[in-house]
């Protein structure tokens, strides 16, 4: 190999980490530009952009929870059911006439408890894989939600309860028009994602979550209480699903039996598209956000262009396969054999 080749090679190798870290954002940017050219009047309008954020609001909570679980090399199939059960409990408590702050707290506590059940089941019952425990609770939680509500929708919440999912922050004081408001759910997404970014990257617990995904026996040998961390992770995942339920309550003004049906698959898809590895230890909070956005924009853009939802399914599936294939290629290049 002559010098020129070597230089080219090393430049290429130097670019890999950046591509690794920001490649997904590049993809997101490309999608936005393409959509803008396809739908120049609508796509980047205030109304449509806020719409996208409102649509992804509760999914982004589930995806963030599932992401932490995937980093530990686990999986949580029950997030959609946790959200549905939390939503049903919220609806029942609201119908019973509880004050709004009690109503708003119930899905968070219910979600946390559901997640705790998952975590304890995986660690104490020593399930061979989290897939099994959370597959079980996928059915258990949704069944419970239907049992307590009789399988019928319960509608009508107060404005305070609906604030996170339905609230608007007025921006007329900035000289904007009345229709150009900021959805509260967008601000909530930003706050929650920043908190969890700090948690995953700048705290010891976050580091240990990555270490468990990288090599659980290394974490154990270093004195990390692996089971305790796993219980925390699954509990937080349930808690985030509870936040999702609160947002959904605001958006739909009702608790309904089909809430969050199959949304665990969307959450997993967003994580995978965002670069989280199923083998654990790999992935970023920013990547998950990009994954959620890509799925949201894809659905929104295809809806704007009147493409059938069947095509949406085909496209999202293709993107999952493509994203993971890119990850496989990256692995071949980046890791020393």
């Amino acid at each position: 190999m002559d010098n020129k080749d070597q230089e080219k090679d090393s430049l290429y190798l130097k670019l890999i980490p950046y591509f690794d870290r920001y490649g997904i954002l590049l993809l997101l940017l490309i999608m936005i530009v393409v959509m803008h050219f396809l739908q120049p009047d609508v796509f980047l309008s205030w109304r449509n952009v806020t719409n996208v954020f409102k649509q992804i609001s509760w999914q982004s909570m589930l995806a963030l929870g599932v992401f932490m679980v995937i980093v530990t090399a686990g999986i949580d199939l029950s997030v959609g059911s946790i959200m549905m059960l939390s939503l049903m409990i919220l609806a029942i408590v609201a119908k019973a006439g509880a004050p709004w702050f009690v109503v708003a707290m119930t899905p968070l506590i219910a979600g946390l408890i559901c997640g705790l059940i998952n975590g304890l089941g995986i660690t104490i019952l020593r399930m061979p894989h989290p897939f099994i425990m959370t597959l079980g609770t996928l059915y258990i939680f949704r069944g419970t939600g239907n049992l307590i509500s009789g399988g019928t929708p319960i509608s009508g919440f107060t404005d305070e309860v609906r604030y996170l999912g339905h609230g608007r922050i007025d921006l007329t004081w900035l000289g904007l028009e009345k229709s150009q408001y900021l959805p509260v759910s967008l601000v909530l997404i930003a706050i929650v994602y920043i908190i969890f970014w700090v948690f995953m990257n700048h705290t010891r617990t976050g580091k240990w979550i990555y270490a468990i995904g990288g090599n659980p026996s290394a974490a154990r040998a270093s004195g990390v209480n692996v089971n305790k961390i796993l219980v925390i992770v699954y509990s937080l995942c349930g808690f985030l699903s509870g936040i999702g339920a609160l947002i959904l309550a605001g958006r739909t003004d009702s608790g309904y039996p089909n809430a969050g049906l199959q949304s665990e698959l969307d959450a997993i898809a967003a994580c995978i598209i965002g670069g989280a590895s199923f083998f654990g230890g790999r992935g970023t909070v920013l990547g998950v956000f990009a994954g959620v956005m890509i799925m949201g924009i894809l659905r929104n853009g295809l809806n704007l262009m009147d493409v059938s939802s069947f095509w949406q399914q085909v496209l999202i599936g293709s993107i999952i396969v493509l994203a993971v294939y890119i990850d496989v290629l990256r692995r071949d290049l980046g890791t020393r054999k």
């Binding site: 700048h202 705290t203 290394a218 040998a221 004195g223 230890g281 980046g334």
Partner: protein, 249 residues
């Protein structure tokens, strides 16, 4: 007696049963400061069980452990770590997805306070890592390099560096050269020698006579869970030690 010969750790008549199986029977072991003890034995001779007893992973069925002359009962590996005993595991026990520095400090990361929240102090991790790797003369491109990007020998060096980053007095190494390319074995053996010079007591479990004779001062053989033979290295030979492993004196 000079401090270099100070007795760091002693195991007295350690016995360990697993159900009806006797893994160890009345095994004794001593390790002094600045000394390297080689532990040899065939598969199933009880080497690994003995090391797990020393590190607190297993509780002995009977017998006792003395750290610095004081009798201690270990409830978990954390207890032995606090007493200055560290293990370097055969599977290296490193998280490949984390950088070198974060592996070295895994479980004991330095933090800084931001209000009431404790955040990782990455600057301190890097400084301490650079200083520690420098002390042990371990060469890596950067402390921020991920462990999965390192060669087998570099990984072993990082594992050894991790075990000694917290003022360890005794380091136990399980087959430290087993997974390495030949050219890297020498570097790891050099590292063990420089550890000895810092006053650490090193216990090396190995099948490789070359390793034992390159770094150890004393060698002991286990056979079917018992002390079979023990000698100063200078007073024995390869053939004799190989004989011990097979149960011949």
């Amino acid at each position: 007696m000079s401090s270099i010969n100070q007795l760091l750790l002693e195991a007295k008549s350690v016995t360990k049963y697993f159900g009806t199986i006797t893994a160890l029977e009345n095994v004794n072991l001593k390790i002094h400061a600045g000394e390297c003890l080689g532990v040899v034995g065939d598969n199933g001779a009880g080497k690994t069980t003995l090391m797990k007893v020393l590190s607190g992973l297993y509780k002995p069925s009977s017998g006792s452990l003395y750290f610095d002359g004081k009798k201690e009962i270990l409830e978990s590996p954390k207890d032995s770590q606090e007493l200055g005993l560290e293990m370097v595991y055969q599977d290296l026990a490193l998280a490949g997805n984390l950088p070198i520095g974060e592996n070295i400090f895994l479980g004991r990361e330095p933090t800084k306070n931001l209000g009431f929240i404790k955040l990782l102090d990455f600057k301190k991790i890097k400084e301490l890592t650079d200083a520690h790797l420098g002390k042990l003369k371990i060469n890596v491109k950067s402390a921020d390099q991920k462990v999965e990007e390192l060669s087998g020998g570099q990984r072993q060096a990082v594992a050894i560096a991790r075990s000694t980053a917290f003022n360890a007095k005794v380091v136990i190494m399980d087959e430290p050269t087993a997974a390495l390319a030949i050219k890297e074995v020498g570097k790891v053996l050099d590292l063990i020698n420089s550890l000895k010079k810092t006053g650490v007591g090193v216990i090396v479990i190995s099948h490789r006579m070359d390793d034992i004779f390159a770094v150890c001062d004393r060698v002991m053989a286990l056979f079917q869970g018992t002390n079979f033979a023990e000698s100063e290295l200078s007073k024995t030979s390869r053939d004799e030690v190989i004989g011990w492993i097979m149960g011949k004196k």
